[in-house]
């Protein structure tokens, strides 16, 4: 599903050029659950941004679902992204002005799904994630765990092939964290590919494979299953 080869990304300021990704090559197969670990600044987040088509690499190749996407313009990236990829963030990133229902509905709106279908699918997902009773609440009225559930619901509502999770448990206590990890595992079991960046060895153990990064390239891979 994902094949990146010799991927490069630099950040430039006037004085300094920082290499974020240095000839990184990784492959993720469909249905895999991969955890990416490494110290701060090793390029995990940059990798995730490129995988999520939020950022463009400066060099190398990125084949997504058999298509070379490096060099795609913003419009094409956005189009591919909204159809195929769901995101879960450490800080949930829900829109404060929208209710739970409306937040989850958002990806469907951008995918031009009809209102009746949207309602059905959002309710299905909320039901699955056991937050149906919170559907008319605003994010600030929810606990962190509940907010992350909503974020997960939003990530999966469009049935994406790939979910990218950026430290999904970072802002949660351990019991809420475990619940979220459980959710991701269940999604993976149903066939969704997951790439998760994490600092937590505990969370990483939910995955099939751990990629460890340092200074912009992968150092080791532990296969857990």
């Amino acid at each position: 599903m994902i094949k990146i080869t010799d991927l490069e990304k630099y950040y430039r300021t006037e004085e300094v050029e920082t290499i974020a990704l240095n000839k990184l090559s990784i492959e993720v197969k469909e249905g895999e659950f991969v955890a990416v670990m490494g110290p701060s600044g090793c390029g995990k987040s940059t990798l995730l941004n490129i995988l999520g088509l939020l950022d463009d690499p400066d060099g190398g190749s990125f084949v997504f679902n058999g298509i070379e996407v490096a060099g795609f313009n913003e419009r094409k990236r956005a189009d591919l992204r909204k159809k195929n990829i769901g995101f879960v963030f450490q800080s949930f990133n829900l829109i404060d002005e929208l209710t739970v229902f409306e937040n989850v509905e958002l990806p469907l709106i951008y995918n031009n799904v009809k209102a009746a279908d949207r309602k059905k699918r959002v309710e299905e997902v909320l039901d699955n994630l056991k937050i149906m009773h919170r559907r008319n609440h605003y994010p600030q009225q929810l606990s962190g765990g509940q907010q992350q559930r909503v974020a997960v619901a939003r990530a999966v509502v469009n049935n994406p092939k790939l979910i990218l999770a950026d430290e999904p448990t970072g802002n949660l206590d351990s019991s809420n964290g475990n619940e979220v990890m459980q959710l991701l595992t269940e999604l993976n079991e149903k066939g969704t590919t997951i790439v998760m960046v994490t600092h937590s060895e505990h969370d990483a153990r939910y995955s099939h494979r751990i990629i460890r990064m340092l200074d912009g390239h992968s150092v080791t891979e532990n296969i857990l299953i």
């Binding site: 999520g52 939020l54 913003e74 189009d79 963030f89 990133n93 829109i95 002005e97």
Partner: protein
Amino acid sequence: MIKNFFKVAFRNLLRNKGFSFINISGLAIGMASAVLIMLWIQNETSYDQFHEKKDRIYEAWNKAEFSGKLQCWNTTPKILARSMEKDIPEIERSVRVNWPSNFLFSIGDKRLTVKGNIVDTGFLQMFSFPLVKGDPKTALNDGSSIVLTQTLAKKIFGEEDAMGKIIKIDNKDNFTVTGIAKDLPNNTRFNFEYLIPWNYLVRTGGDDSSWGNNSTRTYALLKPGVSIDAANGKLKSIKYQYTKDNDDKKWEMFLYPASRWRLYSNFTNGKEDGGLIDFVKLFAVIALFILLIACINFMNLSTARSEKRAKEVGIRKVVGAQKQSLVSQFIGESVFLAFIAGIFAIIIVQLALPAFGELTDKKLFVDYTDYKFWIYAIGFVFFTGIMAGSYPAFFLSSFNPSKVLKGTFKSANALITPRKLLVVLQFTFAIILIICTTIVKQQIDHARDRESGYAKDNLVYHYLTGDLEKNYELVKDELLSSGIAKSVTKTSAPLTQGWSDSWGFNWEGKPADDKTDFDRYVADENLGATAGLTFIKGRDFDLKKFPTDSSAMIINESAAKVMNFKDPIGQIVKDDDRPYHIVGLIKDFILQSPYYPTKPMIIEGAKNGWFSVMHIKLNGANNTADNLKRMEVIFKKYNTEYPFDCKFVDLEYAAKFKTEERTGTLAAIFAALTIFISCLGLFGLATYMAENRIKEIGVRKVLGASVTGITTLLSKDFLKLVMISFVIASPVAWWMMHQWLQDYPYRVAIQWQVFAFAGLLTFFISLLTVSYQSIKAAIANPVKSLRTE
């Protein structure tokens, strides 16, 4: 999707009440001001453009040279109309309109004074003043027919049908109502409540065939398709063709199109030189600026709080939003906001219209039943929304989601450059307006403080209506003997108005080429005593002691200078061929504009006979209201048919400042609005700035910064901008006011103190605005701000 945008917009609005209030109130005030100004502009630019034949309607003008300068004016000889029709084949018809005249109408026991015009019969066929009753082609054909406006007809006859009713005019002639005209619109130069045919003037001896008496307005309707240049070519030398007088050889006449009457008819040296159009343009600019300033608030506040919206932008992009969809979302939001502001603006306009109408001396109104108004209104809302929203929309939608969602995004906590620029623009405009307001006010005060040259207190006048002229001596005796008046005089015009001027005087030693124009005034006796004039030499007219004073003359200092008399007393001055001997020399007094130097003036004795007004110096020992009441009784006794209508000279004199006062008031209002809207924006910016820097402030305080230090730190940036604005505004304002003052020969000097005042005022108002937020941020407990996160 639109529903979703709408929801977010609406909830944002409710959540950020302060922000919404600042934006909506600013935009509403800005929009309302713009709408009011546009109403005024619309009115001014549509003057006399509703006549069906407007493209063929012209007014005849003179162009002639006086003291080396070409003058243009639009009063013409009465004989011109018929001569023009005869000689110039391009002209289909020509119509004269006499000066508006006040006539006494008597209908049964009812008496009222009404203003209207005496016109040629073709008037209603040339101009589109539709009749509700009667036929415009024939209504004025009969010499004793009269056309009334609907309002006047209703005032006189109530619900009864006015057609065919008889009205007695000036207690002499009976007229039959032959037409009822719709009331005049508010955008015409004409101002009549009745029309009567020219024939009346012929019957009463008011018509003449002199080419030298420029006393009426003449209009021409060209035939369809003919060339105006051809018509003008033939009209040019018409006066000389008839008079064959060498003085008239260079005298020109021309036709001036209806489309230019209202806005362009200011002539300098024979050429159009601005006019009302300058004001129209100026106000259009002001309207646009006030709106722009309100929009700038929106731009600044939207971009200042971008951190807040950045997250939403990031999320929307992550779930698949294109940039373009975000741009339309944000523009949609500002249009939505503009729409709400627009509703408030309509309310404000409605509330402000009466006051604005008074200020502009117009009856302005919004025609809500006109679909065009709503089209314009919606267009205006979109225009405002897009103007305010496009910059923030592009700014916000360009955020990179990978940065904002990770929390690494921090909008620059200092004022970024475009925002600085916008604040400078706002305050530049505000400071310019403050300076202009102050100088206009100074100029008015300057002219008002000018010595008028006569005593206005307790001085009243009354027109010699009806039998007053006949009974003048009786009225005068009774006023004096009853102790109401101290002194009474009969004159040719009110003391506040110059009605006559002439260059046709002769005196010993007058240079042959002298064409100096003198103000001409006539009085019987006691003018000096009544008006409180200052005599330098000689004496007042006194017919009892000196019966020959009926051919005496009083001149002012300027006249004595022109005539170059060593001792003017006893000299003979001829008006045409009538000799007058000078008995008095007075100090100049202001007869006309307090902004112009006084002209040379001659006052002729009673022999001249042009009396229209009596001036009365009331006895100040009595109560004024009491004086007036007793006066009315006397006037009623000797002038039974006419209403008593006494005017105060000091009030009339004060009215000379009306135009300038209006300019001043408008400038003051716009200045206040601009400052208010700009400060609203500044307040909002300061709020967000304080919020953004809360951590920095905390750290500084922990490290030992004082409250004063922090307040200064936070306010400094803003005040710097105000100072830059001042530097830009001062020369612009100076230039503008310098230009404006050129219209007033008697004017104030522009003083540096005005600029200092405007600068300091703006500085303190903005300091007050900003420091509230700065102090609040500075005195907050740092423990709180540092604990967050």
